[in-house]
Amino acid sequence: MNEPPMHDFCTFRIGDACFAVPTAGVVEVLRGGHLTRVPLAPDAILGLLHLRGRIVPVIDPAIHLGVSRKTPEQPTHLVIALQDDWYGLVIDEMLDVLELPQDRIEQPTTSSAEGPGEALVGVFAAPDRLVHLLDPQRMIQSFMRPRPQTLERQAISHGRS
């Protein structure tokens, strides 16, 4: 127990910022793919992707993380597994996999927490950049929180033909 435990992270870039998720949850990375739109879903859900027999909701984390994507035309999907469900995150570019000791990860400062929000669980300094560590579970839950007011609005506007 002398050495701090090591953790693997997949790092990726959205806009100018770098983010990381634990490698253990990453299923695969794929480019392109046809998305099926999900009407009335939260804005962050871009659609559904068919991947080897599974239906994968694809999520755009950019807005919620306070960054803007640079390659909206050629999306890259980072597919991660949460329990039994798979989710796709739209990113700009996949970077390398880093192995880090636990003690290199720092608590996010309050100022950075305002942007990426509750999903940001840590920050660490890679050689050439600052990497924001995300908790995929929290991130997806915060993105997909159903917004009842959307439905209400639709139900009302349905009436007002």
Binding site: R52, G159, S161
Partner: protein, 730 residues
């Protein structure tokens, strides 16, 4: 303890199977108390439970099983004969073991229940009836069971070897030979099966893509053909791995019947047929409760007490038959009893008393339709019901549960002969027939089980059309008023609906609600068809239901998604969810395949205030639209007032005048309810529009001129304007 969990789970599964077997064995034993093999089998089962509970340290379970084992041991050794007390205590033991196992499953420990009394009762039953109370323990029967034979139990526990044959001469050879289950089955993790199904689904898609490739090479064609055949066979086989015989549910019913019959003093013989009929394992669980309910009902209310049966010339013992069979791609399960049947007259009375129909309507209703009332929510939960209808406690729940899995429930009954309730369920939920509809650039799947019919709308408005107020579009379908939802608008696919004119209305029925979804058209293998071509099965696809993740399902709009043959992902609409969001009013349920209802029931009314301050109502179905005119726009032609509308005129009738009063006020704007009618529409001038309300009572006739009757609307008695005389007068 964590290491143990896996073993404990296995122990729970195995024990629960054993308990089901025990129930059956006990019932068989009651019928044939001298079946030594049966006793030995029961003994072994209980012994196994006792052994396992000792291993895991479940002391209560162990103690209970020990008492049971002791009793069974004496039974097996012929020291005890089977009587009601013995069987009763054995049944109690099985129940207690079951509840302990349930406690272990949910909480991880045996629970607080005290079973020592039961153990004592078992012990007392074991000692109570020795073959003779005389001091001499050996009687004439004793030699038949030589003492040494009892030595085997511990050794014989897990083996599949047949029990040692008991060479007791007087015992007839058992009809039901012990089933020596050969090792032809394996336990497989359900997740593993699911992933096999997923992979097969992938293969099907690849196959479809292969088929779409044009190749002139005969060798390629031959291979493609073979892959096609194998894929189809593979898909069929893979689906079968999810199947289980309904036996898993039926197993419990002999015990249910026995208990219910005993508690209400009936004598009932249960006949089971088709227990090997297979159903998807997820559905097997879903039918358990509804079937249990139906069976209890049949025994409790259907089958008459023995003396009544004898008096009416029937066999003393009632017959309850449970039959499962495959029928047109679905599984039908029939619960039939030879009891007194349902008292139609009492159901009618009850329906009238509850205000579901008027007495005249009820009297004219055919028996089939009368029976439908039994499924009305709350129809039979009242205390009077059991005595009145004699049937149907909670039938609405049965129907709701069965419909939740895409099934239907039918009921037939003949007075004095009996009642048959048929439950039809789909074979599987993982794969289901669905209608794939188009809406804008999107496609959606609607479970076929919910689809009633498809109604094409015509641009020239010659056929069925959507009418009613803007806030509540409805369509008239053979006398019923069905609320309409424009799917494109509802889902925000298009800002304004584009399919009002020439779309297709898919009439769907969920639970007790019916509504129409307006879509652009249907998707079929032949591409996008307009509605006229689609009324065949062309657009029905068999889809594989895939989950879309709990967070998306929580929207309440989609139950899942599927991948179509062209590789496209299609969302499956959650019709129940839509209903919840739309809060559509309930509509009259059309009895299956019933003729047009004798009386058209228009249940919603537009309530208005007249200029003179009277509260009046017009059936919403007759309302075409609401308009407001300025006083100056009203022209007088001859003795009638008209307003210009487009290139025509609409005649105005003042509501007060229709009711025989004279308006004294003349406000600057006139609210007009434009009503349609068989003789052309007209405008009803009113003071204010109050609300659209559902009728809370039947229409009470009245002699007031121009009034069709009086209704309770919004808790207030309201006059309903007689539109027919209004038109006649005009």
């Amino acid at each position: 303890m964590t290491d143990n969990r896996e073993f404990i789970e296995e122990f729970l599964v195995e024990s629960s199977e054993n308990l089901d077997q025990l129930d059956q064995d006990l019932i068989a034993l009651e019928k044939q108390p001298d079946d030594a093999q049966r006793v030995a089998s029961i003994f072994r089962t209980v012994h196994t439970i006792k052994g396992n509970s000792g291993f895991f340290g479940f002391s209560k379970l162990g103690a209970l099983a020990h008492s049971g084992e002791h009793l069974l041991g004496r039974l097996r050794d012929g020291k005890l004969t089977l009587d009601d007390r013995v069987t009763g205590s054995l049944y109690s033991m099985v129940d207690a073991v079951r509840s302990i196992l349930q406690a272990i499953e949910t909480t991880g420990n045996e629970g607080d229940q005290d079973y020592r009394d039961l153990s004592r009762a078992l012990a007392a039953a074991a000692e109570q009836t020795p073959i003779s109370t005389s001091p001499s323990p050996v009687t004439q029967e004793s030699p038949a069971v030589p003492e040494p034979r009892a030595a085997a139990p511990a050794a014989a526990v897990p083996a599949a070897t047949p029990p040692p044959a008991q060479p007791i001469p007087p015992v007839q050879p058992t009809a039901a030979a012990p089933v020596a289950t050969a090792e032809t089955t394996v336990r497989v993790d359900v997740d593993l099966l699911a992933s096999i199904l997923d992979l097969v689904g992938e293969l099907v898609l690849a196959r479809n893509q292969l088929r779409s490739l044009d190749s002139d090479d005969p060798a390629v064609q031959a291979v493609a053909q073979r892959i096609n055949t194998v894929t189809n066979a593979l898909q069929e086989t893979a689906v079968k791995t999810r199947m289980q015989p309904v036996e898993h549910v039926f197993n419990r019913f002999p015990r249910t019947v026995r208990d219910v019959a005993a508690s209400c003093g009936k004598e009932v013989e249960l006949v089971i047929d088709g227990a090997d009929t297979e159903l998807d394992r997820t559905l097997i669980e879903s039918i358990r409760d509804p079937l249990t309910h139906l069976i209890r009902n049949s025994v409790d209310h259907g089958i008459e007490p023995p003396d009544v049966r004898v008096a009416s010339g029937k066999p003393r013992v009632g017959r309850l038959s449970l039959r499962a069979f495959n029928e047109s791609g679905r599984v039908t399960i029939e619960v039939a009893d030879d009891g007194g049947g349902i008292a139609f007259e009492k159901v009618r009375e009850k329906a009238v008393a509850r205000g579901l129909v008027s007495a005249a309507e009820a009297a004219a209703m055919p028996p089939d339709q009368v029976l439908q009332f039994i499924f009305e929510p709350g129809f039979s939960t009242a205390a009077t019901v059991t005595s009145v209808s004699g049937r149907g406690v909670g039938m609405d729940v049965v129907r709701t549960n069965i419909e939740a899995i895409g099934g239907t429930v039918d009921i037939q009954s003949t007075a004095g002969i009996g009642t048959v309730i048929s439950v039809h369920v789909p074979l599987t939920l993982a794969i289901m027939p669905a209608l794939v509809v188009r809406c804008g650039s999107e496609r959606f799947a609607i479970p076929q089980s919910a689809v009633g019919e498809l109604v094409p709308l015509k641009r020239d408005r010659s056929g069925p059309r959507i009418e009613g107020l803007a806030e509540a579009p409805v369509m008239r379908v053979r006398g019923r008023l069905v609320p309409i939802v424009f799917l494109d608008q509802f889902l925000g696919i298009r800002e304004t609906t584009a399919c009002r004119e020439d779309g297709t209305v898919v009439l769907v029925r969920v639970d007790d609600r019916e509504f129409g979804l307006v879509v652009d058209g249907m998707q079929s293998s032949a591409g996008h068809l307009r509605c006229r071509e689609l009324l065949d099965a062309a657009s029905l696809s068999t889809i594989v239901v895939k989950p879309i993740g709990g967070l998306l399902t929580a929207l309440g709009l989609y139950t899942g998604a599927t991948v179509l043959g062209d590789g496209g992902v299609v969302l499956i609409l959650d019709l129940r969810g839509l209903l919840r969001i739309l809060r559509l009013p309930p509509v009259d349920r059309e009895p299956d395949a019933a003729p047009i209802p004798i009386v058209e029931i228009t249940d919603r009314y537009l309530v208005c205030g007249t200029l003179g301050g009277r509260r009046v109502a017009v059936p919403l179905a007759d309302v075409v639209r609401l308009e407001t005119f300025h006083r100056d726009e009203v022209e007088v032609v001859g003795h009638r007032r008209v307003v210009r509308r487009g290139d025509g005129f609409t005649t105005l009738e003042d509501a007060d005048e229709l009711l025989g009063c004279v308006s004294t006020t003349s406000p600057p704007t006139v609210n007009v309810v434009v009503v349609g009618g068989s003789q052309g529409g007209f405008g009803l001038a009113v003071g204010s529009i109050i609300d659209v309300l559902a009728a809370e009572s039947r229409l009470q006739p009245t002699t007031s001129p121009g009034v069709a009757g009086i209704l309770a609307l919004g808790g207030v008695a309201t006059e309903v304007i007689d539109l027919d005389t209004a038109v006649g007068d005009a």
